[in-house]
Point group: C2
Chain length 118, copies 2
Amino acid sequence: MTDRLSQAFSALADPTRRDIVARLTAGDATVGELAEPYDMSLQAVSKHLKVLEEAGLVTRGRDAQRRPVHLEAEVFDLMTRWIERYQRRAEERYQRLDTVLADLQGRDTAPDLTEDTA
Amino acid sequence: MTDRLSQAFSALADPTRRDIVARLTAGDATVGELAEPYDMSLQAVSKHLKVLEEAGLVTRGRDAQRRPVHLEAEVFDLMTRWIERYQRRAEERYQRLDTVLADLQGRDTAPDLTEDTA
DNA sequence: GCCGTCCTCAACCAGGTGGTTGACAAGAGA
DNA sequence: TCTCTTGTCAACCACCTGGTTGAGGACGGC
């Protein structure tokens, strides 16, 4: 689970972290501000932020003893590109379903593996 | 981790499962066909498919003792909507950065929580 | 009916995850 | 300097995850 895309999907698989991301679209915030609404220790939120940071979804600055958290948009783009690519293909497949049906009798081999997935 | 979106992100956080999804865009496949390229037991692949199925990314039919696996597009749409929503907001925030800078001196409250995240 | 094929279920295991508490580092302010 | 605020680090814990092996269910073909 070391690749960028796995880290990004994994980071957003947690509802607390998605909530944090959602709130950060309103503007940067400190760890304390982000932790306040949750019934959870500051340390736990700090861990969540570390996960988001390692996934590249967030960066952390420094302002005295405060660590302002900042949302980064690039990795989101990476994720949407991956999803839309296969979503689009799946939809295309249904649109030309007649062609697929015609192909069915000739289909006795496994699907090819020529596509990279990362 | 019971909600739909968490399950979907979590399912795609694994490279093997993303690879399976990618291959399924070429057409339905049986468990055996899907397992063939991996250095992994059939049972392990069967588990991966179960995860994908519970996330709603895939459905499984029945054809005698075979269980053809079929890609579903709807949940992808749910994910892209979530991502793009916050990605768009993050980008908008940079575009009107001058406004944000003007707001900075008045910003001493935590970001609001009016947004649902699921 | 019996065998082979395709697949799932159950038990197990190592390692990861999400939370806790306690200690402490870095700075601002008195 | 002493203290308060802000946040991280480390150790610990219960539970989940991704793999294994072994057993067996469901079905087609002989």
